[in-house]
């Protein structure tokens, strides 16, 4: 049985940091707006950070193991394909996750 007290500690840390990230900038918003570095980072950084996050989550995909890699590739194809077709982020995420879950749970031999 996983540890509830640990999850609580993790939740509190995540909550405090998230709240800080969202509120503190408002307190320094004037200097933030004046700083060319901040302006530049606000445009450039999100794309870079999200790319790193995407790679981080893709690293688990084992292309040599068809049983785990296969459903993930299928899910990604659905996600990217739908996004390119409809330009709708939510649709791509929901449909690809549903596809992945259907494949992993219903195709014989894939459920661990």
């Amino acid at each position: 049985m996983p540890d509830d007290s640990r999850l609580l500690a993790v939740m509190v840390i995540g909550a405090v940091i998230t709240f800080g990230l969202r509120t503190i900038p408002f307190a320094v918003i004037a200097p933030m707006r004046r700083s060319p570095v901040v302006q530049h980072l606000s445009l450039a950084m999100p794309a870079g950070v999200l790319t790193i996050l995407a790679i981080y989550f893709l690293r688990d995909i084992d292309l040599t193991d068809a049983r785990s890699g296969g459903p993930q590739i299928v899910g990604l194809l659905v996600a990217v394909g739908l996004w390119r077709w409809r330009r709708n982020v939510s649709l791509a995420i929901v449909a690809s996750t549903a596809t992945y879950m259907l494949v992993v749970n219903l195709v014989p031999g894939l459920h661990t």
């Binding site: 996983p2 939740m11 900038p25 450039a44 950084m45 870079g48 950070v49 790319t51 790193i52 879950m101």
Partner: protein, 239 residues
Amino acid sequence: MILGLVNSTLALMEMTPAEAVRGGVQDTLPFALAIVAFGAAFGLHVTESGFAWWWAPAFGIFVFAGSLEFLLVDLALGGASLATVALTSLLVNSRHAFYALSHPLHRVRGRRARAYAMYAMTDDSYALTTGRPPEDMPGSRVLAVSAAVQAWWVAGGLLGALGGAALGDIEGAEFALTATFVILALQACRTAPDRVAPVIGLVCGLLAVGLVPAQALLVGSGALVLILTLMFLSGSTHA
């Protein structure tokens, strides 16, 4: 007298609070299903990981940060150090720090209302509240959007956590995380001013995952910020 006329006209143009609230909730409707579904995936992941169902709404209320909530559950399961949890939270939600630059907080009146508006600034509520010019977003509409997004999210979490228990052993909800970041990354690269940051992110990410897999997020994005800042300060990047 002219000032009086201008003031009256402006007052007429301003929506009544009830209309603003209704408008705010309606703004969230196109995304409600997706938010509920993503929330349900999270709720499912919570119970599939062995935690009690009420952790899902607890996270939705106290953290209220979709993708990070998934990660926090995994970090707790994996026995990560609290320092790792802190750094991961900092990183994954670092993009929220920049949202302040364009969020219409100045339209929200009252300290508690403002505190809520800031606390509820997720990707979704940020996108919705900045989707219209600030003149069209009275404070009550901003609050209504944020509250509605949170309601959908917490409801989804409950649905997934409670429904998951009924459905039995269903796998795969965590794929929502991979899909989310791949799509958000593609989206951000499309709207980024140039290819520089994404390419640097790609290189930093690949190297970090290859060399220091346990601290890949921290090392990769630390390097990214450092490189971007140095490039900017040395004038080799156009602002």
